[in-house]
Symmetry: C3
Subunit: 346 residues, 3 copies
């Protein structure tokens, strides 16, 4: 039938553990993407902003923002994984493995590593490990994600549940493979915007990033299309109020975090991530961070890792570091709870 | 007089058959334009998205989206042709003659090929054949367009009417000159996003493209300025509700058509085109296609042509393929009726 | 204290005459920035739009729009100079000293050249001379700016007032250093869009630029982030109605001025500039110019300079050249009063 040529996406019963999915539409990343990403979020980390700064510390050239890489790979997976998703439940074990430069072409594939039907039998949770590769076939990142996906047919029988065991955090030995050996003497703190190095941060430290940004429909739509992410919930106001792609909130929070973490120039890993509440156009996003842990990186004296919790809120400032209510639930206004490893010069 | 240095555009009586107009402001197309076009529409055709994919099938590099070329050339003509237009009536005989790559510089000229005063004597229809050229003077596209233009002076006498005879469709022998000989074995359907080749489509087949996008003022304004199209009706809310440039609807419908026509990677021709109803910010655009004809291309075994009718609607889905009422008028919500030749691997 | 890692910006008492501030985050300008600037404002000056046009007249390649350079340098100064500003009072002596091309990396520094406490003792005016440099350390522009900045502590004692003496206008001998010797014979007026050369303009001439653009929140936010300008007043609707960055109005007015000044391809200097009234999303910007003076440039027969007053208004047309009321105040709706030197082929 002709109608079947337009894809309606996979349903829960279409996924089986061990299945490998090649996602469509490889994408060459250019300085055009980089500039538009800048216009959408306004990050100010010097390594990604300046060819000269990047070269002075040992990069062959300015790398593309880690999150632009992440969203581009993520976007490719949407038609196969989450067109019929009810919710994007979480991320784990996200590692950035190689730098990506303008001119590199990214493609994505995913392996199904878990499935578990929900007790209501109308949906289930699918776990995938997604890899992004460059044009040479080298992996540039991988991550685990799990989504709740509708069943096509509630009466369809479900496979035996498989729930992968996921690391609580990426091990320090696996971090910062995307960062070449740095000439830290060439890292100009005045130009980077702050004097604080790895050793200046301590576990338990909380930083209100102070700034905030109000999101517009045009902004999140342009961002989400830039990633070729086609999930309908972000684009069709005629069908329902448009939901902002969670990655937009992540990128905004990351850009805001410059004010307080200016030298945390690289996201080395996303240990865990949760979109706590929906975000819509008109919401104003604030952010704060808590330093959770400080780790040396085996064999590296140039950089160290900070494990940080990055919290984004909507329509409320972060001077009081909002996170949980006394009852343990997320506090009103919390949008995002992200557990990151950040690379910082020592 | 000083005031005359600001141009108010041409009126009906300024046009004469045979007149050739050089349009201002040549434009170098870069990866910046390509990325912004991606952010505005989100197309997913692999040939334009990936340098690697394009090279694997025989392009020297990824070509620029056909419609970005079309809109750029079209935009240049606006100050001379349609600043005083009442309506953009139609397109015909639009052929894409050479690929355009980042770094190419586009310029435009038009020849007036017809004029016909309206019976009310306050306006008339002007027919032009517009050509776009690259920096070597090679034509990259040409098309016929006709617009209804105000008269400066209703009492001005009108020239004898000349109405050009236009082809109902571009002949298959004139198609796909912008496509180099392809190595179809290098065309990876998994990566392109769908298994369907030229021979898998049949005349009469209808495809609901399922997805939809709600348009914002900022989006259509950014798009229209990107094309250096200065028509006032798109930009000045103080004077009147802003009308979305019809080309924005064309690009959105084309991007949506990926879902069902993923391998129709090149628009080989626009046989006819009509903006049936106005589109405003806030409208949600849907699309469907009907395959009208399948044609072999003389001398080519790599690709074939599909003639398709691409219909865009606003604020209504396309599951029932809306087009005409039983009385023959366009159905409510139909925005665009476009007759295209598409190139598809065999 | 951890909180201090997030910067709250400098206050009046943090500035002292002679102090030199290195601003953070150098920025490599690419064709991505150029394309996005085009999408945000739609300028049509041929020199910046076409590599071929630029080369035909003697540039090695198309230079980046002067105002994109200005806003990028300006943006870098915001975290140090104007995060606690009450008002951006004026600009003077802004000279464009070298062309900037895609691939150049810009950085900024400022010297404090004046301070004067206000009589209310809660704020003061700070005068700085800001320089922008490229990756070779060559200055590409410099300008003086003065802002009214809050005091941290109203009871803090103030330094002796120093108010710099500023030139009423940049001297013709200092103009157009950013313009290489031009081959004016290669300047194609048909393609540039208008026949008028330097000698065709006369002091006293007034030009209504006719066109207008309505500004959207997404547009000014994307623009302002593109410049990495983080001033909170532009981005946080939760705290207060967002104010459009004045540079957005300048760029819009400049783009509109093409219609009447198509060959004024380069801003050679900003002699003075004042944001007369606030601009918000939803406002429609119109513009007109008055030619104030025509100057030869010492040693140059290729180009001459026009001194022009560029006025932008909101929500009113400029056919009557609005500027002052009979009482001498700015007329209702006037947004911007800019005194420019423009380079024009002779």
């Amino acid at each position: 039938m002709s109608e079947s040529k337009a894809q309606r996406g996979n349903f829960f019963e279409d996924f089986a553990v061990g299945q490998v999915i090649t996602h469509a539409t490889p994408r060459t990343m250019t300085q055009g993407e980089v500039a538009l990403y800048m216009g959408l979020y306004g990050p100010r980390f010097a390594v990604q902003s300046s060819e000269e700064f990047a070269r002075a510390i040992g990069y062959p050239r300015a790398p593309i923002d880690d999150l632009l890489v992440f969203h581009t790979i993520f976007g490719k997976t949407v038609p196969d994984l989450s067109l019929n998703a009810i919710a994007n439940l979480g991320y784990a074990e996200c590692r950035f493995l190689r730098p990506v430069y303008p001119g590199d072409t990214l493609s994505a594939s995913s392996e199904v590593i878990g499935v578990r039907e929900n007790s209501n039998r109308t949906s289930g949770v699918v776990y995938v490990r997604t890899s992004g590769c460059n044009q040479n076939g080298d992996r540039v990142l991988d991550y685990v994600r799990w989504v709740m996906v509708r069943k096509r047919n509630p009466r369809a029988s479900a496979p035996a549940p498989v729930v992968p065991k996921l690391a609580e955090r990426v091990a320090p030995s696996e971090l910062a493979m995307a960062v070449p050996p740095l000439n830290v003497a060439g890292y100009d703190h005045a130009v980077a915007g702050a004097p604080y190095r790895w050793g200046d941060y301590a576990a338990g430290e909380k930083i209100d990033h102070l700034d905030a940004m109000t999101l517009e429909e045009a902004e999140h739509q342009i961002a989400t299309r830039l990633y070729q992410n086609t999930a309908r919930v972000h684009f069709n106001q005629h069908a329902q109020a448009r939901l902002v792609y969670g990655g937009v909130v992540i990128s905004l929070a990351r850009a805001l975090s410059y004010n307080g973490l200016a030298n945390a120039f690289h996201i080395a890993a996303i240990n865990a991530g949760r979109h706590v509440a929906p975000c819509h156009a008109g919401d104003t996003v604030y952010a704060w961070s808590e330093i959770l842990e400080r780790a040396e990186l085996p064999g590296r004296t140039d950089i160290g890792a900070l494990r940080a919790r990055l919290i984004a809120t909507k329509n409320r400032g972060c001077a009081d570091h909002p996170l949980r209510t006394s009852a343990g639930a997320y506090a009103d206004g919390v949008l995002l709870d992200l557990d990151l490893w950040l690379a910082v010069p020592r």
